[in-house]
């Protein structure tokens, strides 16, 4: 396990520890502090992937987030993670990674044959063909395209790791811990401000490694000593949002084979910052020249990083192609590390750095450029020529070609924060302009070069951001001029890539322009330039410049594609955090839930609630048996249902009655104390909103119930009208849904049952008639008894403070035992209400009027109420609108289904639909409710209920929706 390309000394790696890892099944060695990329380079691995479209061989191109090529499937099994950048994977013992997008192997990739027909695969080729025959798209072309595109393979298995989210607040957020960010944080921290420093890298001050380790260590020590400073390494700020809120993902345990128990793999931070300092550094950009994608071509700064930080020589013989002096420093770093110098190719005639290079004995070809490269799976050399001279090229042998076309400040986050970008002539790139929000850009992100200058810029920003100041030591450096001679592309034979990941060439951009896709956003979409996982960090501006030339415009006028989140791709699971599985949404449980569980109820979801659907008994052979048994008990004897889920609102105040009069279609001010009334509520547009009973407990005190689903919305509706429309009213509102458990005791034996247990209340029909309400006790527990009925039977509702629910419930069951009492669930509740023709959410679905469901009589004669006026619109009063009717199959046993449509026999024209069906207990077979055009006039006629989805067609009879006791006598006995 030798590492032939490892230098003897230097770098922030722990040479005392050797880690073994696998890439494409082969075992290699590296050290703590390595990335997968640096370790592979140390082992001499050059070929690491295949390109997206042409499947060209690719090597490691960068050393950080801008890497376009070196993507791997990391880990195995359910933890497999495609497209992971090798340049950011921290090495750990036993790491396993595999190259992707190749078949059968990385060296022998069949689809590299695409290269042969590359001219056909020009940008947008798929828009021009694959159209014949039409049916071939889904069957032939698309599957082929889908299979050959995409990058790595998803695991397709549930993720075994956990994730977390956390909220944070700070005065100053510094993004990036380069020299500028560290200086900014140090100054802001010294002022006492709450500072957070986020750095995507696992090292803080990484750019300083090998340059000024002393300053770096001293600064980190000073920061670590400040209690008001939070340092977050391994944390990428992925997006900047309104109000200086940013999202960031911390890779808590990605550097370990597996997260330790209870530790999240990644953590999503939502950070609310007073001010933000963007110290995000810069991305070096490449130059597009023919075959600029061969393994061995690398960004100059990246090569220097491999040497200085990782102690790895990325090659044996290096050639530099650069148009700026700063890039020479990168080459010198390699030179100092003993890499053989093949020379420097520079389009500029002369520069101070050229002189310095020559002084080092390095050959410099001035006014020259690289016009091509040679090699197959790895670089063997570059062809160079003088600028402007045709045909006279020299082949220079090299296994490493460093490229630098200048640097682009990492303005992504600033731009997302709406900071305008200004064009810098000397740097030939975009730099941040005057921010709109309370933000600053510092250091390389601000177009400042040189360690000392960047630190000073950071310190200034830290002071401005914190509103204070502090003197700090600055690092020393040998400044290099970052000015560039703009050079975007060297034309010649061979593909000059402007997007190395997505295989977009300069010719593709020109073709887009020629075909009219000239706007930068059109060219992007037509060619997919900057649409890969690196979002064009190193080639975006290059492509824009090629487009500018094709359009005969300045780069400045062409602009850049919009910078959007995410600065780096964001793990899906991290954002979800713990809010998955049962934690995706909270579950609401009735106070009687434990009892239902003990009684082995079958539960169903009702919004957030879990409610018993029915209670199976040994005698039941299926669910329907249970439901029918429960409903029969309610019709023939007595049964009890948990209705604690109903919304309950306490309304008090001198104007409470007046307030309710304005919200409900009917009147409450004339409701007697101790009485309840059914109420109907509309939206302002005249459509039914909710219904429920309201009881008057005192002159100024009402107890309102709502449907389970609308408990929250009705409360909010009331608060809206109270606070914004009638704020002068003396009314208070309080939700008491959770305070009160409620149970409905229904059936001819209901009075006999509860009379045994309700103390302090005469329950006789005379003393406590239908719609009466009174307080009492059961087994010493306070209760409120309502004589109201949803089932259509004589019925009572007993409400009790939630903690007493089980006591009261058990008392009811014991009292009813002699009458064969049964608990009943939501299914039986539905059965009973359908038999009775009561409407629920299935009919009151936000589309129906009061008249549609037969409740038009609930409109009071006089007075305003919400929805009254707009309910009168012709479209809502049209007599032909679907109206509520009842249904019975002609052959009684035939099953109907909710969602069937009603048609005239033999027709397929829908005239209505079934809202609810059930098997009945008071009648034979199935019954249903439906909304039917001209419903009232069709009662007595026959139609068909059709469900083509089920292949079902049932002859039905249209009947009144009130199957049971239409006179409403039972409730009054």
């Amino acid at each position: 396990m030798t590492q032939p390309f490892r230098t003897r000394a230097g770098g922030q790696i722990d040479r005392t520890v050797t880690l073994s890892f696998r890439f494409d099944g082969k075992v290699y060695a590296g050290h703590p502090g390595d990335t997968l990329a640096s370790a592979l380079l140390a082992n001499g691995v050059r070929l690491v992937g295949r390109s997206f479209k042409l499947h060209r061989p690719r090597g490691i191109y960068a050393a950080g987030a801008e890497e376009p090529n070196a993507l791997a499937e990391l880990r195995t099994g359910a933890r497999r993670e495609p497209n992971t950048r090798m340049t950011q994977i921290e090495l750990y013992a036993g790491l396993e990674a595999a190259s992707q997008n190749r078949w059968p192997s990385l060296r022998w990739d069949l689809l590299s044959l695409n290269g042969l027909i590359a001219p056909v695969l020009s940008s947008g080729f798929y828009y021009k063909t694959f159209m014949w025959p039409a049916s071939f798209w889904e069957k032939v072309y698309e599957p082929l395209i889908r299979r050959s595109s995409g990058l790595g393979r998803a695991a397709g298995l549930a993720d075994p790791d956990r994730y977390d989210t956390v909220n944070a607040h700070c005065d100053v957020l510094v993004i990036g811990a380069g020299v500028a960010g560290l200086a900014a944080a140090l100054v802001a921290g010294a002022t006492g401000a709450r500072v957070m420093l986020c750095e995507q890298d696992f090292l803080l001050g990484a750019g300083l490694v090998g340059q000024d380790d002393g300053w770096r260590e001293a600064t980190l020590a000073a920061l670590a000593a400040m209690a008001n400073v939070t340092l977050l390494p391994r944390t990428n700020v992925f997006g900047a949002y309104d109000a200086n809120v940013v999202g960031a993902v911390e890779r808590v345990a990605d550097h370990l084979p597996e997260p330790p128990p209870h530790t999240p793999r990644q953590r999503y931070w939502t950070i609310r910052a007073g001010t933000i300092v963007h110290a995000t550094g810069a991305h070096e950009r490449f130059i597009a020249f023919p075959d600029n994608d061969r393994p061995g071509v690398m960004l100059a700064g990246a090569a220097a990083t491999y040497v200085a930080r990782y102690g790895v020589k990325p090659g044996n013989r290096a050639l530099l192609f650069a148009n700026n002096d700063a890039a020479y420093l990168s080459l010198f770093t390699l030179h100092d590390a003993g890499v053989v110098m093949a020379g420097i190719v520079d389009p500029r005639a002369e520069s101070p750095a050229q002189a310095a290079a020559r002084a080092r004995g390095i050959t410099v070809w001035s006014a020259s450029q690289v016009i091509g490269t040679s090699g197959a799976l790895a670089l063997t050399g570059a062809r160079i020529a003088r600028v402007g001279s045709a045909g006279t090229d020299t082949l220079v042998a090299a296994d490493l070609l460093l490229v630098s076309g200048g640097i682009n400040p990492a303005v992504q986050l600033a731009s997302q924060s709406r900071t305008p970008l200004d064009w810098s002539e000397p740097l030939a790139t975009w730099v941040p302009g005057v921010p709109v929000l309370a933000q600053f850009s510092a250091g390389a992100a601000n177009g400042v070069s040189g360690l000392r200058e960047a630190a000073a810029d950071g310190a200034r920003s830290g002071a401005a951001a914190s509103g204070g100041d502090a003197a700090i030591a600055l690092p020393e450096d040998v400044p290099a001029d970052a000015t560039v001679l703009p050079l975007w592309e060297v034309k010649g034979r061979g593909k000059a890539f402007v997007d190395i990941q997505d295989d977009v060439t300069a010719n593709d951009i020109r073709l887009a322009a020629r075909e009219g896709y000239k706007h930068i956003e059109h060219a992007k979409r037509y060619t997919t330039h900057t649409m890969g996982t690196d979002q064009g960090k190193s080639g975006g501006l290059v492509g824009a410049a090629v487009l500018a030339e094709a359009r005969g415009e300045t780069v400045q006028n062409v602009g850049m594609p919009t910078f959007r989140p995410f600065t780096s791709p964001v793990t899906w699971g991290a954002i979800a955090g713990a809010n998955i599985g049962k934690h995706f949404a909270p579950t609401r449980l009735s106070p009687l839930h434990d009892w239902h569980v003990k009684r082995a109820a079958v539960f169903m979801d009702a919004g957030q609630w879990l409610r018993p659907a029915y209670y199976p008994a040994p005698v039941d052979s299926d669910g329907w048996d249970s439901v029918l048994r429960e409903a029969r008990a309610a019709r023939r004897g007595v049964a009890v249902c948990d209705v604690s889920t109903l919304g309950k609102i306490d309304v008090q105040g001198r104007d409470a009655a007046r307030f309710l009069d304005r919200l409900y279609t009917n009147t409450f001010s004339n409701l007697a104390i101790g009485r309840a009334r059914y109420g109907l509520m509309l939206r302002e547009d005249g459509i039914v909103f909710d219904d429920g009973t309201t009881s008057r407990l005192a002159q100024d005190h009402f107890f309102v119930t709502t449907t389970t689903a609308n408990a929250g919305p009705v409360m909010q509706h009331m608060e809206f009208y109270l606070q914004t429309v009638w704020p002068e009213l003396d009314v208070t509102l309080a939700s008491v849904t959770d305070q009160w458990a409620a149970m409905s005791i229904a059936g001819p034996k209901s009075r006999a049952t509860i009379s045994k247990i309700v103390d302090g209340l005469d329950l006789s029909n005379e003393a406590f008639p239908f719609m009466a309400v009174a307080d009492a006790t059961v087994r010493g527990c306070a209760v409120r008894v309502f004589r109201i009925s949803f089932s259509g039977e004589m019925a009572y509702e007993i409400a009790t403070p939630a903690g007493h629910a089980e006591t009261v419930w058990r008392a009811v069951l014991e009292a009813g035992e002699e009458f064969g009492i049964e608990p009943y669930g939501v299914e039986a509740l539905g059965l009973l209400r359908i038999e009775k023709g009561h409407v629920t959410g299935a009919e009151l679905n936000g589309q129906t009027t009061a008249a549609d469901v037969g409740l038009e009589k609930m409109f009071k004669k006089r007075g305003d109420f919400v929805g009254r006026v707009l309910a009168q619109r012709p479209g809502l009063t049209d007599a032909a609108r679907p109206r509520l009717v009842g249904l019975r199959p002609v052959t009684r046993g035939e099953q109907m289904r909710a969602g069937m449509h009603l048609v005239e026999t033999g027709s397929s024209h829908s005239l209505g639909w079934i809202t609810a069906v059930t098997r009945a207990v008071e009648l034979d077979g199935w019954i249903g409710l439906a909304m039917l055009e001209n419903g009232a006039s069709r009662i007595g006629s026959r139609m068909q209920a059709a469900s083509p989805l089920h292949g079902a067609l049932v002859d039905v009879e249209i009947v009144s929706p009130h199957f049971v006791d239409p006179e409403n006598a039972r409730v009054r006995v």
């Binding site: 128990p261 009735s590 569980v597 329907w624 959770d738």
Partner: protein, 200 residues
């Protein structure tokens, strides 16, 4: 007819709070407990906030706090929860007694609503309690922004909750809707596994 495969169990959530240490070991755990409290909602009627204040001062020695604050009185605390609206929280007493006492004191100056069964009070305490809460709490609980005696109604784990910091440890009382208690505890204890938590 269709039903889900949910089972659901123990609504009170007490099974989730089995005494002992849970989650990660090594660091300092947080303490989580269910507190047995009465909670009474007091909403001043229009223009009667002064009367309510006087009544509660007399009855419970409570100086009604303003927005974002709590105040302690004789055996009870008042938490501001909405304009001219407070929660009066006290250790659990006879059923309905606290509400009756407040009602008697306030007369028609306030709507007095017993929520003792409608709210549950969960306490969390420990040096890392704010960290555990920050996993879902969007309100800044840093000592420079919050502190003992401070109250915030906000969202925790998708649920409306009122948060009351009771001391500088820090300790927090979390007042949540009782029908969501189990779900709340599931999420809270899940969040506390990282620091580890102890149930006394």
């Amino acid at each position: 007819m269709s039903v889900s495969n949910h089972s659901g169990s123990n609504h009170s959530g007490s099974d989730l709070l089995a005494p002992g240490a849970h989650g990660a070991v090594g660091g300092e755990p947080v303490r989580i407990a269910l507190r047995s409290c009465d909670v009474v909602q007091v909403l001043a009627r229009k223009g009667r906030a002064g009367d309510v204040a006087a009544a509660l001062l007399g009855a419970l020695g409570l100086v009604l706090p303003g927005p974002g604050h709590a105040a302690d009185g004789r055996g009870a605390s008042a938490l501001w929860v909405q304009p001219e609206g407070w929660f009066v929280v006290a250790p659990r007493g006879a059923d309905g007694a606290l509400a009756s006492a407040i009602k008697a004191a306030c007369g028609d100056a306030a709507s007095v609503i017993d929520q003792s069964h409608g709210r549950a009070v969960v306490s969390i305490s420990g040096t890392r309690a704010a960290w555990v809460l920050a996993k879902s709490c969007r309100v800044d609980l840093h000592p420079s922004a919050f502190g003992p005696g401070r109250v915030a109604s906000t969202q925790l784990f998708h649920l409306a909750a009122t948060l009351h910091q009771t001391d500088a440890v820090p300790s927090f009382d979390l007042i949540v809707f009782s029908t969501f208690l189990r779900s709340f505890l599931e999420s809270l204890t899940h969040a506390a596994e990282e620091t580890g938590y102890v149930v006394a």
